[in-house]
């Protein structure tokens, strides 16, 4: 049995006076224990909302989640607020994008770690402090006993993200969700944080959902990748299959738009035209069609289904590869 089974998860935002907006549209995927699964897409593709829905952190008013999120067999969406609080922080951890704003500025780092240990592992403040020091050391923060009494503004960006990771992993959760954990960091720090995450999940056997818009991150970290577009999964593949032969034109476009050092000089980058704003609703078409180089008439009339393809899953009428001859 998979650790996490997401089935037909939809999230709709409803507010008075505004047309309901479906940010996540019937997505399904599994996470096996100890595996790292990537959720990849542009901003607005619904990947962060998916993470919040799994964690039960959607705004209480105005957001509605449907479908099921089975974690070790229990549907998280049906749990009461209290039951969910017991799971969050203990079985499910989350690392956020901006480490500065995600840490409470007015209480010391130490307390921000110990409070989760006290809550879920029943430790005394003293025991928790010892454990917190150990945790800080494990995430690579030098001189951890001094850092415990320091405040977030006294730490560098990379250190803050390490502290956030220490908080998320404090209770050895079985699933960790990392939402763009490196986006707000300097490039040199990004690689260190990714290496740390990889090392920690391997060590502890924690499953990881990695949310990113950066295929570079995926290449280094993920076992399996879900590419999202317009609130739906458009392609799912093992990492190597994806990089060897991306099938969906959107994935293909994402890969093509990464600058490569080994590319011949003078070769043009191929950006994906347009933006998410050009989306059309999924109901009677492929949402990506207006931006798709491979789009056929059919793409604007019939919604493609997610079907098994080449060992993975694909939602496309005219995938890359099938048309290669035509394109050339």
């Amino acid at each position: 049995m998979a650790l996490l089974e997401v089935r037909d998860l939809s999230v709709t935002f409803k507010r008075k006076g505004i047309r309901p907006f479906t940010a996540v549209d019937r997505i399904s995927f599994d996470v096996e224990p100890g595996r790292t699964v990537g959720l990849v897409g542009e901003s607005g593709s619904g990947k962060s909302v998916t993470a919040l829905a799994i964690m039960g952190l959607l705004p209480k008013r105005g957001a509605e989640a449907q479908g099921s999120v089975r974690f070790e067999g229990t549907d998280l969406l049906t749990l009461s607020d209290k039951q969910l609080r017991d799971k969050r922080g203990r079985d499910l951890g989350m690392v956020f994008q901006d480490p500065l704003s995600s840490l409470n500025p007015v209480i010391p780092i130490g307390l921000q770690i110990t409070e989760v240990l006290e809550r879920h592992r029943g430790m005394s403040r003293k025991q928790a402090s010892v454990e917190a020091k150990d945790l800080l050391g494990r995430v690579g923060i030098p001189d951890p006993s001094r850092r415990l009494s320091e405040y977030p503004h006294q730490l560098s960006g990379g250190m803050r993200q390490r502290a956030l990771i220490a908080i998320a992993l404090a209770c050895k959760p079985r699933l960790l969700i990392a939402d763009e954990p490196t986006t707000a960091l300097d490039v040199t720090i990004q690689a260190q944080i990714l290496a740390l995450l990889q090392e920690l999940v391997r060590e502890t056997g924690t499953a990881l959902i990695m949310i990113t818009h950066d295929l570079g991150v995926v290449a280094g970290l993920c076992d399996e990748v879900n590419v999202m577009y317009g609130g739906r999964v458009v392609e799912r593949a093992e990492r190597h299959a994806l990089f060897a032969a991306a099938r969906h034109p959107y994935t293909h476009g994402l890969l093509e738009s990464i600058p490569r050092l080994d590319a011949p000089r003078g070769e043009k980058l191929l950006p994906i035209k347009g933006s998410v704003a050009d989306n059309i609703p999924w109901e009677h078409a492929c949402a990506f069609a207006p931006r798709c180089p491979n789009a056929l008439d059919r793409c604007r009339e019939v919604m493609p289904e997610l079907v098994p393809d080449n060992g993975g899953m694909l939602r496309c009428h005219n995938p890359v590869g099938a048309m290669q001859g035509v394109r050339a």
Partner: protein
């Protein structure tokens, strides 16, 4: 922390100097100048010139200011024109009454203002929120002295359940040590005196608290609304912390930062409001001295009171800065 306090104290010195210059200038601007004010109707040009000489007002302005500053620093504020008593002694007697009233009012404003502001933010957009916002807007629109008069009329004159004026019933033989009547009652064990002093404080304190209360409610509400949507609150939720911990440790602690500044800002309002409330309830405090001093144009007394107000303001300012540094670690390092 000590260095922080010393630095803030040093920063307060120029503020006080500027304010002393303002008070000094204000005295020169008075109709007829200080001499004219002292002599009043009896002023003749000869008498004015004589008094000006005695007072040193014919000397260069810088010398005058230097002497003025020297007198103030040595604690010599002159004698009140009304009572003939030393202004400093007068102020010393009135001080506890005002402080007691102001502290009571501030405690009321905080004790009710913060929970109500918090509740309004928690139930943002619902009935309790709208009702709270409307109440605070009305609270600011009601003149303080009229609110006092109204309370006095209803609770003292019509219902007769609370005393209309003064600090303590004259028939009670209370021992006074500190001049804070409630504290005295507790210290001496004269609980009837204590209770009577409290009853005398209720109405004026409510009247005086009305505006700080309204302001504290509004700032708390706005601040909690801001903090609620911060990323670190989401982090706290993701840790599975219980709601009380999240509210207390993560939301309130951050939301109270601006509130603490606002509370400090209220001391100015409280001093000004005390002038009105003490007149309404006949409380022999600083505001009463000020109101009486204005009516009778008692300039030595007014000068001392204004300087005292400035001093209190600066001290409160310092206290707020220190308390701010205690709750907000980011301020300390700067």
């Amino acid at each position: 922390m000590l260095r922080f306090i010393v630095r803030r104290l040093l920063q307060a010195v120029p503020t006080l100097l500027v304010l002393s210059i303002l008070v000094f200038a204000w005295l020169r601007l008075l109709p007829g100048g200080p001499a004219g004010a002292l002599l009043g109707d009896k002023a003749t040009p000869q008498k004015l010139a004589d008094l000006n000489h005695v007072l040193g007002l014919d000397q260069p302005i810088f010398v005058q200011y230097g002497k003025f500053l020297g007198r103030i620093l040595s604690g010599d504020f002159g004698a009140s024109l009304i009572s003939g008593d030393s202004v400093l002694a007068e102020v010393g007697r009135a001080f506890p009454a005002t402080i007691e009233l102001a502290v009571f009012a501030l405690v009321l404003a905080i004790a009710f203002g913060i929970p109500l502001g918090y509740a309004a933010a928690r139930f943002h957009g619902r009935l309790i929120d709208n009702a709270t916002v409307l109440t605070t807007l009305i609270g600011v629109a009601v003149p303080v002295f009229f609110f006092g008069v109204l309370l006095k009329y209803i609770f003292a004159q019509k219902l007769g359940i609370l005393p209309p004026s003064g600090r303590q019933d004259v028939t009670i033989d209370a021992t006074h040590i500190t001049g804070f009547f409630t504290l005295d009652g507790l210290l001496t064990g004269e609980f009837d005196a204590f209770w009577d002093a409290v009853k005398h404080l209720i109405l004026p304190a409510i009247a005086l608290a009305s505006i700080p209360f309204a302001v504290i409610v509004r700032i708390t509400r706005a601040s909690v609304l801001d903090v609620q949507s911060e990323d670190f609150v989401r982090t706290a939720e993701s840790k599975g912390l219980t709601t009380p911990v999240i509210r207390r440790r993560h939301i309130l602690r951050n939301a109270l930062l601006p509130v603490s500044t606002t509370i400090g800002l209220q001391t100015g309002l409280l001093l000004a409001g005390a002038v009105l409330t003490e007149k309404v309830f006949n409380i022999p405090g600083l505001g009463y001295l000020l109101a009486q001093g204005i009516e009778r144009r008692d300039y030595p007394r007014l000068q001392a009171l204004l300087l005292l107000a400035a001093l209190v303001y600066v001290i409160v300012n310092l206290l707020v800065d220190v308390s701010y540094a205690i709750i907000d670690p980011r301020v300390r390092v700067r």
